[in-house]
């Protein structure tokens, strides 16, 4: 029971982490990023290579991958998204354009990964020794994953709610039309939000790769789950993403443990449907 609870929180923590990233990209940059999960998987592979070929431990790898993913995401935004933002007559048009663009980008990233690494299942063994937590054995890498998710998620929440910079990002999410009157450069805010979102995805990738097997084609599963978490939590709500992410992780783990592992995805969609019937705007969404 306790074992499943911890495993559920580990999984849920990573969901919450990546969903926060997607939420930033969608809520502030107004870009619906379908290649989000493939960014996660790319980071999984990067961690794997750094660990297995260069002997760099995933925590150190995080220090390399974090800034690298920020720069790459910023580049992707400048190169591919900005032309769309410039030409879009309204938000709806930008959403449709960004869906089409990132749908293509998904296959580019996936294709590159397939060419380089093939289609097989990949995993590596890092901190695989069991640790005793309240009498239950949990593998060390899962505990580390949970700690990292919590720490990075908390750091983002503090930045968003306690700094001017975070206040600016929230203002653009809440009132994009009024934000310029506050002296806010909304284009710059969108650029940064997209890049931070990409960085959160990459962070999620590093964390997930420590305890889960992955393949070049599992990105879409992460995109779907991150999307579900964002919608469940309420569009643009960071606390919502955290609660919904943890909820989803717990549901998946308990269904796999007590009912049938084959039903995890079905259980996710059931929770999704039921909650949306009751709260169409998500847990923390505004009506």
């Amino acid at each position: 029971m306790l074992e499943h609870l911890i495993n559920g929180l580990v999984l849920g923590g990573t969901y919450a982490l990546v969903a926060m990233g997607l939420s930033l990209q969608y809520g502030i940059a107004r870009i619906m990023n379908l290649s989000f999960g493939d960014t996660i998987i790319a980071a999984c592979f990067a961690t794997y290579i750094l660990f297995s070929s260069f002997g760099i431990n995933p925590i150190v790898a995080l220090a390399i991958i974090l800034p690298a993913s920020y720069i790459v995401s910023l580049g992707v935004y400048r190169l591919m998204m900005e032309p769309l933002v410039k030409r879009a007559p309204d938000e709806g048009a930008l959403e449709v354009d960004s869906i089409l663009l990132t749908f293509g980008l998904l296959f580019v990233i996936q294709g590159c990964l397939l060419v380089i690494f093939g289609g097989g299942y990949i995993s590596y063994s890092f901190m695989n020794t069991p640790v005793s937590v309240l009498g239950t054995l949990v593998s060390g890498n899962r505990l580390l994953a949970l700690v990292l998710s919590l720490a990075i998620g908390a750091a983002l929440v503090i930045v968003l709610y306690r700094t001017r910079w975070g206040m600016i990002l929230r203002a653009v999410a809440l009132a994009p039309k009024s934000a310029p009157l506050f002296g806010i450069d909304t284009d710059k805010a969108a650029r940064m939000a997209f890049a931070i979102g990409g960085t959160m995805a990459a962070t999620g990738g590093v964390v997930v790769s420590m305890f889960q097997t992955f393949t070049a084609t599992t990105g879409v599963v992460f995109t779907m789950k991150a999307l579900i978490v964002v919608i469940l939590g309420g569009k643009g709500s960071v606390p919502g993403a955290i609660v919904a992410g943890l909820l989803l992780g717990l549901v998946e783990t308990f269904v796999a443990a007590y009912i049938d592992p084959g039903l995890t995805l079905a259980s996710v969609y059931t929770v999704f449907l039921l909650l949306l019937l009751v709260r169409p705007n998500g847990l923390f969404g505004k009506a």
């Binding site: 001017r164 203002a171 809440l174 310029p180 009157l181 506050f182 002296g183 806010i184």
Partner: protein, 236 residues
């Protein structure tokens, strides 16, 4: 000095503002009077960079600022309190005010300015932790004016600040604006509420269908037959 020179604003084929000339000095209160749809809001939005200027120029102390993006204009000393107030309902009073000090010109004075805002609007100090969307219309208008003051503007543009407020609140608000003006800020107010706005303004312009059809000091306009006829229903 803020100066509009033959400014045109166009939405598609519709000409909303048809070549207006308006000027405002620092420390002066100028009101633009006009009916609904006369183009009053468009004038303010164009100055603040929220809608494009089709032709003509806007200058600030003889430097052209036409076509600058809105966020840069706030750093040049232009602050707009738009229709609908333009504040963020799901943030607290204090957050809205502090966010108003985002322009570089205002950052260093943030704490002094916020004290000044709280001095003019003590109610905001009492409610600084309250979410703005839970406040009354008059209080929200205070937040909007306070937020604009936080950017340390030289010119404050107000789009129908009296709209939807009870008469007694409107009176309080104009008294507060008089204090803002004493700090050396120039106010450009567009209004339908002719009586009260003329009482608090130094000068005024009449706007009809996007054109300036008259101008003068407040006393002159108050006694002008055309103004009395068009806006004041004959008698005051």
């Amino acid at each position: 000095m803020l100066e509009l020179n033959n400014m045109l604003v166009r939405y598609g084929k519709h000409l909303a503002v048809d070549g207006v000339n308006i000027s405002v000095e620092k420390g002066e209160v100028v009101v633009v009077l006009g009916a609904n749809g006369a183009g009053k809001s468009s004038i303010l939005k164009a100055i603040a960079g929220m809608v494009p200027v089709a032709d003509g120029t806007i200058s600030l102390d003889h430097t052209p600022i036409t076509g600058m993006p809105a966020h840069q204009l706030t750093n040049r000393g232009i602050a707009l309190v738009p229709e609908g107030r333009g504040i963020i309902g799901r943030m607290t009073v204090e957050e809205n005010l502090r966010l108003g000090a985002t322009p570089a010109r205002a950052r260093d004075y943030e704490d002094d300015t916020i004290a000044q805002v709280y001095d003019i609007f003590p109610r905001l100090h009492e409610r600084k932790r309250q979410f703005v969307h839970t406040m009354s219309g008059g209080e929200q208008q205070m937040v909007a004016i306070g937020r604009a003051m936080m950017s340390k503007p030289d010119f404050l543009l107000l789009d129908e600040p009296s709209l939807g407020l009870a008469p007694i609140i409107v009176g309080d608000m104009f008294k507060a604006l008089a204090r803002v003006r004493k700090t050396g800020v120039g106010l450009l107010i567009v209004e339908q509420n002719v009586k009260i706005s003329l009482r608090h303004a130094d000068r005024g312009y009449l706007l009809e269908a996007g054109r300036i059809t008259g101008s003068g000091t407040s006393d002159e306009l108050m006694n002008d037959a055309a103004v009395r006829h068009a806006f004041l229903g004959g008698d005051i």
